[in-house]
């Protein structure tokens, strides 16, 4: 096994490790840093692969990863954290040990899922497809076990990293036009979220999502008085119509 391939495999292992670190991490600032490191590992892997295969479009996507996932998005998220003053994700829905155990099972499942794909792939990196699937599923687990909007977003972005890594290991990346489109969408998504966070905060004075559990079916099924409790919700009862 050549050195560059060994390095690539190490990157894959690091990505998996970082996903577990994210799963266990409660401090949001560190969570964002982990995301940035994950982006950096992804950047290194893309660069290595580009050098190994000589595919030019991989250099472009490596540059895109560096600009977007290592520099811009973490910077933006850090800025949001400071402006919104959210530092801790206080409680999770499941304790850390439990989450980790579920995470282990997920990795086994992911390798099982990726088995037929790896068997068919003819890329040098086909053994990492299982890791990519595991990263996607672990990020999903991060999203569903967290309460704070910010942690969910980090989970979402990490999931996107996993998908990107999967595309890279299985097919040496998607066509350029698609990669640009995906990067644009991710960028816009985070910008939209930034706006969104300020709206949530303005309304609730917190980014804790359990404030957002009021809607549900209760509004439709409960007694009328329980609906539209905040004065701003629902339509004003009746105004001066002519």
């Amino acid at each position: 096994m050549t050195l560059d391939l060994q390095l690539l495999n190490m990157c894959a292992a690091l990505l998996l490790l970082l996903s577990f670190a994210m799963l266990a991490q409660r401090r949001i600032v560190i969570l964002v840093n982990l995301l940035a490191v994950q982006g950096a590992v992804l950047f290194a892997a893309t660069l290595l692969l580009a050098w190994r295969t000589g595919e030019h479009h991989l250099y472009v996507s490596a540059a895109l990863t560096l600009a977007l996932k290592v520099i811009f998005l973490p910077w933006l998220l850090h800025r949001l954290i400071r402006r919104l003053e959210v530092y801790w994700d206080t409680e999770t829905l499941l304790n850390i040990t439990g989450t980790m155990l579920v995470g282990l099972l997920i990795v086994v499942f992911a390798f099982g899922l990726a088995q037929p794909i790896s068997a068919l792939a003819n890329t040098a990196t086909r053994s990492s497809i299982g890791i990519a699937v595991a990263v996607v599923l672990l990020s999903f687990l991060t999203m569903i076990t967290r309460r704070k909007a910010m942690s969910q977003v980090v989970g979402f972005l990490s999931m996107e990293n996993g998908l990107f890594f999967g595309a890279m290991s299985a097919t040496y990346g998607m066509p350029m036009i698609v990669e640009f489109g995906v990067a644009l969408d991710v960028l816009v998504a985070v910008l939209v979220l930034g706006v969104f966070f300020f709206q949530i905060r303005e309304q609730f004075d917190s980014l804790d999502l359990h404030h957002l559990e009021a809607l549900d079916e209760r509004r439709s099924a409960g007694p009328p008085a329980s609906r539209g409790a905040p004065p701003s919700s629902g339509r004003p009862p009746s105004e001066g119509h002519s």
Binding site: I177, V178, Q203, F204, G234, P236
Partner: protein, 485 residues
């Protein structure tokens, strides 16, 4: 040329409205941009009628019988919704629910949303299709939260996260699709994601990968269709956003997402030669019908009520596509068309009614017919149409779906019939007192836009009695394309 105009007019509209969206004439500009889009769509349709399928821009965009009527439908409903939103948004602004900045956001994003849906419908590239679907979500998230109420923020967050996770699954499916295609078509250029090329070699695509890809694509895009276990975002987003947005979400976005699934189904079935994709569509469809129907009973909010009805109808359509065969597929395509027209008409009428009564709650909306017979009748006729009363088009399509279900999948017929019956009772008992009886309605400062409501209902009535030959030809050609194994 027509293509360029079709995609450029909403984009230009979005830019212009991003600057001038708060001016007094902004609603007219919005309608004008939608009109330009509609004219371009008509020109494109005329070209397809005379010349057949079109490929454009290095095969990145194409028109075939499966998307041509959806493009026209999208442009048409986009135009009528823009007309409806003129008085509607003016009233909202006058009541102080919207600042000029938000009005600008609304107008600009409305056009952007139209553009993303048209790109999703006309693109030949499965990757671009994904990008456009995600962009459609992003352009509407801030519209759902336009009123900044607690409930609307929750709805927006749910919408963003659920559809974001869903669409990530679809991205994984797209990657797998590319993975399978690259082996056959080669990685050179981008032809490996072009649907027309994929369709040509679908028999050689690796079945194991394609079945996995289809599962991910179905779950991913299915989230946006509002298929049953993944439908949670839909009623909230419909109820909390401004009514024009509910109308286009329900009438157009769900269709576009279903269209994406259909494209994937053709490829998956061609590769698998099995009933797996059809069975999955039938399963998800039937579950949506049943769940959508049962949630109808508990609704107190008029927009939520019709949002659940959308889930039910998308379930019926998905089930029909799953059954396959020329008749069921024809009926499903017809149902897509009439559901979109009827549901947006209902949202128009319900929006005006809610404004007149100052509440979206069903119990606060009473006796519309006394003060404004036209809105009342619009809501009544729309509800009867969506419930499948003859002679409206929904009756024709549901009748065809039920008869083919009796022939091909007899076990499902009682479930469908009971659901339709329950839906009828649930909706009718809510709508009847809203329209008749003592009134709670007030006059509005701007006359409601009734042309869109009755134009839609007129078209639905026409489709129930007579389907234009070229439309029927498209449906048949699309049904052949979707054929099934």
């Amino acid at each position: 040329m027509e293509f360029l105009l079709l995609l450029a007019s909403p984009l230009a509209g979005a830019l212009a409205l991003g600057v001038f969206g708060a001016r007094r004439w902004a609603p007219e500009l919005n309608a004008a941009a939608s009109l330009a889009t509609f004219i371009a769509a008509c020109a494109l349709t005329a070209r397809v009628v005379s010349e057949g399928n079109i490929l454009a821009a290095h095969e990145q965009f194409f028109i075939d019988p499966l998307n041509v009527f959806l493009v026209t439908l999208t442009a048409f409903v986009g135009l009528t919704t823009a007309l409806f939103s003129r008085p509607y948004m003016r009233v909202e602004a006058q009541r102080g629910r919207l600042s000029p900045g938000r009005l600008r956001l609304y107008h600009s994003m409305y056009q952007l949303f139209m553009a993303t849906m048209l790109v999703a419908l006309t693109t030949n590239n499965m990757g671009l299709l994904w990008v456009a679907m995600e962009a459609a979500t992003l352009s509407t998230v801030l519209l759902v939260t336009l009123y900044r109420t607690a409930a609307s923020l929750e709805a927006g967050w749910k919408y963003f996260i659920l559809c974001g996770v869903g669409i990530a699954q679809a991205l994984f499916g797209t990657i797998l699709l590319y993975f399978a295609a690259e082996k056959v078509l080669g990685a050179e250029g981008v032809s490996a994601l072009l649907w027309t090329h994929l369709n040509g070699v679908k028999g050689q695509l690796e079945p194991a990968v394609l079945s996995l890809a289809f599962v991910f694509l179905l779950v991913g895009y299915g989230t946006k269709v509002g298929l049953a276990p993944l439908h949670n975002w839909l009623p909230d987003a419909h109820a909390e956003g401004p009514t024009p947005i509910s109308a286009v979400l329900s009438g157009l976005l769900l269709n576009v997402a279903l269209y994406a699934i259909l494209r994937c189904k053709v490829l998956a079935e061609g590769s698998l030669h099995s009933h797996l994709p059809s069975r999955m569509l039938m399963g998800f469809g039937l579950l949506s019908v049943v769940l959508g129907t049962f949630f109808l009973w508990r609704q107190r909010d008029v927009k939520r009520l019709f949002a659940y009805s959308s889930i039910e109808h998308m379930g019926i359509i998905t089930f029909a596509f799953g059954m396959g065969g020329p008749v069921a597929t024809f009926a499903a395509l017809l149902h897509m068309t009439v559901h979109s027209l009827t549901k947006s008409a209902i949202f128009f009428a319900a929006g005006h009614a809610a404004q007149k009564c100052g509440s979206q709650l069903i119990e606060d909306i009473r006796g519309l017919i006394t003060l404004s017979p036209t809105v009342g009748w619009g809501l009544m006729l729309g509800s009867l149409a969506i419930l499948g009363m003859p002679p409206f088009g929904v009756f024709a399509s549901e009748f065809l779906i039920l008869t083919s279900a009796m022939r091909d999948q007899p076990w499902a017929t009682p479930i469908l019939l009971v659901s339709l019956g329950i839906a009828f009772a649930a909706i009718f008992r809510r709508v009847q007192p809203m329209v008749f009886g003592e009134t709670t309605a007030h006059r509005l400062p701007h006359a409601p836009a009734l042309l869109p409501v009755f134009a839609h209902l007129g078209l639905v009535l026409m489709l129930g009695l007579y389907i234009p030959p070229y439309l029927a030809d498209w449906y048949r050609a699309a049904a052949r394309l979707l054929g099934g194994p």
